[in-house]
Amino acid sequence: MTLEVKNLTKEYIRGRTAFRAVNNVSFVVRPGDFINIIGRSGSGKSTLVNMIACLLSPTEGSVEIDGLNITSLKDKEASVYRNSKIGYISQGQSTLASLNVLDNVRVPFHLSKRKGTSEEAARSLLEQTGIAHLSEAFPRHLSGGELKRVAIARALINQPDFVIADEPTSDLDVQTTAEIMNLLKNVAETGTAVIMITHDMEALESGSRTFVMEAGILTERASDLSRSGTQPLRCRK
C-alpha cells in the first residue's frame, strides 16, 4: 500500500497575514519505509503529519492511498481510514486516563465494526512492548517511557499500514529512547511504514529516509536519495 502526498499546503492567518505552515509538500511512502522528519520547532512538521493522519484539513493538495484521496473523505470515512490504516502516536502523554493499560490499547479495535475480540492481540502487543505486567495499571501510575509504549501498542492494535509518530521520544532518557526506536524499527521491518517526527539526532539512525522541514518546505536529505530511489523533492512550486 503506497501513500502519496501531493502538493500538500496548509495556510494559516496570523494577525492579518497569511502564512504557509506547510508549503506545497510532495513525497511518497512505501511499505516498510521508516521516514524521519526533522526540523526546527514551528517548521510545520506536526502540521504535515496531522494532515496525513486526516486530523487536519489541508488548504491545498492531497494525500492519496493507492489512488484514493483521503483528504476529501467525509468524517465517517476519514475516521475509518484513521482507525484501520493509520497508527497514530501523538506528542506527549496520549493515553486515556479513565482506562487501564489493556483497555487503552484495545480502544481503537472497538471504534470500528470488527469481528472477534481485541484482548489477545492487545496482550501480545503489551508483551512485545515490554509492559505486559502493567496491563491492569492506570496511566497515572506509569512513567513517561511506559506511557509511550502504551501509545505504540495502541497504534499497532489494528495492524495499520502506516504508523505516524509525532516526537515519540521527546522527554525520554537515552536508554528509553533507544528502546522506543528499536520498537518502531521492528514495526517498520514487518512492512508497516513509519513516519516519525523527531528532534533526536540519534533516532535518525533507525530511519531509512530523512526529510528536513524548514519554514513549511520539505526536502529529502541527499544521502537518503539513493536508498529511496526518488528524485530530490522540489517542495516549492
Binding site: 486530523l55 475516521s79 482507525n83 497514530y88 506528542q91 480502544v107 471504534l111 481485541s118 489494528n158
Partner: protein, 406 residues
C-alpha cells in the same frame, strides 16, 4: 475471562467512574432538579385535588350557624377541628320559608374528647336522612342503603377497631361504611342519623362524662348546629342571604363560594410559589449542568481529540458525552424522585396539617403519570444541557486540541 467490548456505554461509564467527585456533583444537580420537579408537581397536584374535593363536598350554597360561629364551621369543613354550637331548630322552618330557598337540612354537631376510636377529639355530625342533600350523595358512593339507627359512617382518617365498630361513651356503634379520602375535615368526622345522635347523647349523660361538648344543657330534640341551604334556580347567594337576615336575627351565614374562594385564593399564592420554585430550580439546574458540561468538555478536549486520532467519529464523540450525561441524569433522576417520594408520601398528613389547606394526594394512576413526567424531564436534562458541549467537543479540530492539551 475475555475483556468486554469497549462500547460507547462502557467508555462513558469508565469515564464517570474515574472522576467520582465530578460525577457526584453532576448527579447531585440532577437530583435537585428531579426532587423539585416531582416534589413540586406532586405538592401542586395534591393541593388542586384537595380544592376539587372541597368544592365537590360543600354541597350546600349556604350554611346558617349561630351568631359568630362562621369560623368554627369553616374549621370543621377544612381541618376537622371539632366544634360545638347550637341554636333552636325552629330556625330551620323559618329559613325554609325564605324566598329563594329550595331545600334545607339541619345537622347536629358533637365533639368527643377521647373516644375509643381516636386519641384526639372527633367530630360527630348528625343529619336527617330524609332531608339531607349534602352528605348522602357522597355517602352513596360507598354505602347504598339508608343509614339506620345505631349505625355510623366514618371518615377516611378514623381508625376503626377489628370488629368494625366504634365505641362512644361506653356504647358500641357499628360502622357500616368508611368514606373515601377527601383531604378536608370530613376525613376526621363520623356521620349518623339524628336517632343515633340522641342515643349517643343519652349514653354520654348516662356515663356522666364531662364531654368537651356540653350537651347537658342542650335539648337534643329542639337543637341543631347548622342549617344547610340549597338555593332555587335564578337566585344568588347574596340575595337569599339578605332575605334570610331580614327575617331571622342571631345567626351567621357562611357562603360556600366564599369558603371555596378564600381557600382557592390562599392556594393560588402557594401554588404560584411552588410552581415558581420548581421552574426556577429546573432552569437553574439546567444552566448549572450546561456550564459544568461545558467546563468538563473543555477539560477533556485532549482526551476526546485522542479518541478522534485513533478513529472515533464525531458521532461517536457526541455519543460518549451524551451517554455520560444520560447516565448522570438517570442516577440523579431516580434518586431525586425516590427521595421526594420518601418525603411526600409518608409525611402527607403532617404536610396537610402544616399547610392548613385541603390537600389530597393524587391517585395511583395520576401519581404514576407525574412520576413518568418527572423522570422523563430529569432524564432529558443531562443530554439537553450537554448537547451543545457534545457537538462542540466533537467538532473541535483534533490536532489543535491535542496541541492545546500539551
Amino acid at each position: 475471562m475475555e475483556s468486554k467490548p469497549l462500547t460507547t456505554r462502557r467508555l462513558s461509564a469508565y469515564n464517570l467512574r474515574s472522576k467520582p467527585f465530578r460525577t457526584a456533583g453532576l448527579v447531585f444537580v440532577v437530583f435537585l432538579l428531579a426532587f423539585a420537579t416531582f416534589g413540586g408537581s406532586l405538592l401542586s397536584q395534591s393541593l388542586k385535588n384537595g380544592l376539587g374535593s372541597l368544592k365537590e363536598r360543600l354541597g350546600a350554597d349556604l350554611a346558617i350557624v349561630p351568631l359568630n360561629h362562621e369560623a368554627d364551621y369553616e374549621g370543621i369543613l377544612l381541618t376537622g377541628q371539632p366544634e360545638k354550637f347550637y341554636f333552636d331548630q325552629s330556625i330551620e322552618q323559618q329559613i325554609e320559608q325564605v324566598e329563594g330557598v329550595s331545600k334545607v337540612s339541619s345537622q347536629f354537631f358533637i365533639s368527643t374528647l377521647a373516644a375509643a376510636c381516636c386519641s384526639v377529639p372527633v367530630q360527630v355530625i348528625g343529619f336527617d336522612p330524609d332531608t339531607d342533600f349534602v352528605i348522602q350523595p357522597w355517602i352513596g358512593k360507598v354505602y347504598h342503603e339508608k343509614i339506620g339507627d345505631g349505625q355510623i359512617i366514618a371518615g377516611s382518617d378514623i381508625v376503626l377497631n377489628d370488629t368494625g365498630t366504634l365505641k362512644f361513651f361506653n356504647d358500641t356503634y357499628k360502622v357500616v361504611a368508611q368514606l373515601e379520602k377527601t383531604s378536608t375535615g370530613m376525613d376526621y368526622s363520623v356521620y349518623a342519623n339524628m336517632n343515633t345522635i340522641k342515643m349517643l347523647v343519652a349514653g354520654a349523660r348516662k356515663a356522666g362524662m364531662n364531654l368537651s361538648v356540653d350537651v347537658y344543657g342542650t335539648d337534643v330534640d329542639r337543637s341543631i348546629s347548622t342549617v344547610l341551604v340549597k338555593l332555587k334556580k335564578g337566585y344568588d347567594a347574596d340575595t337569599v342571604t339578605t332575605n334570610i337576615r331580614r327575617k331571622i336575627s342571631g345567626i351567621s351565614i357562611v357562603k360556600s363560594q366564599n369558603v371555596f374562594a378564600s381557600t382557592a385564593n390562599n392556594m393560588d399564592v402557594l401554588l404560584t410559589f411552588i410552581n415558581t420554585i420548581t421552574f426556577v430550580t429546573w432552569m437553574l439546574a439546567l444552566f448549572v449542568l450546561a456550564v459544568m458540561f461545558s467546563a468538563m468538555i473543555n477539560e477533556r478536549k485532549k482526551e476526546l481529540a485522542l479518541l478522534r486520532s485513533v478513529g472515533a467519529t464525531r458521532r461517536k464523540i457526541c455519543g460518549i458525552v451524551l451517554t455520560e450525561s444520560f447516565f448522570i441524569s438517570l442516577l440523579g433522576g431516580i434518586l431525586g424522585t425516590a427521595t421526594a417520594s420518601l418525603i411526600i408520601f409518608p409525611f402527607s398528613t403532617y404536610t396537610r396539617e402544616k399547610l392548613g389547606l385541603p390537600y389530597l394526594l393524587p391517585d395511583a394512576a395520576a401519581t404514576l403519570r407525574l412520576l413518568g413526567m418527572s423522570l422523563l424531564l430529569s432524564f432529558a436534562a443531562g443530554p439537553l444541557a450537554a448537547a451543545y458541549s457534545a457537538v462542540k467537543g466533537s467538532k473541535a479540530e483534533a490536532y489543535v486540541s491535542i496541541r492545546e492539551g500539551e
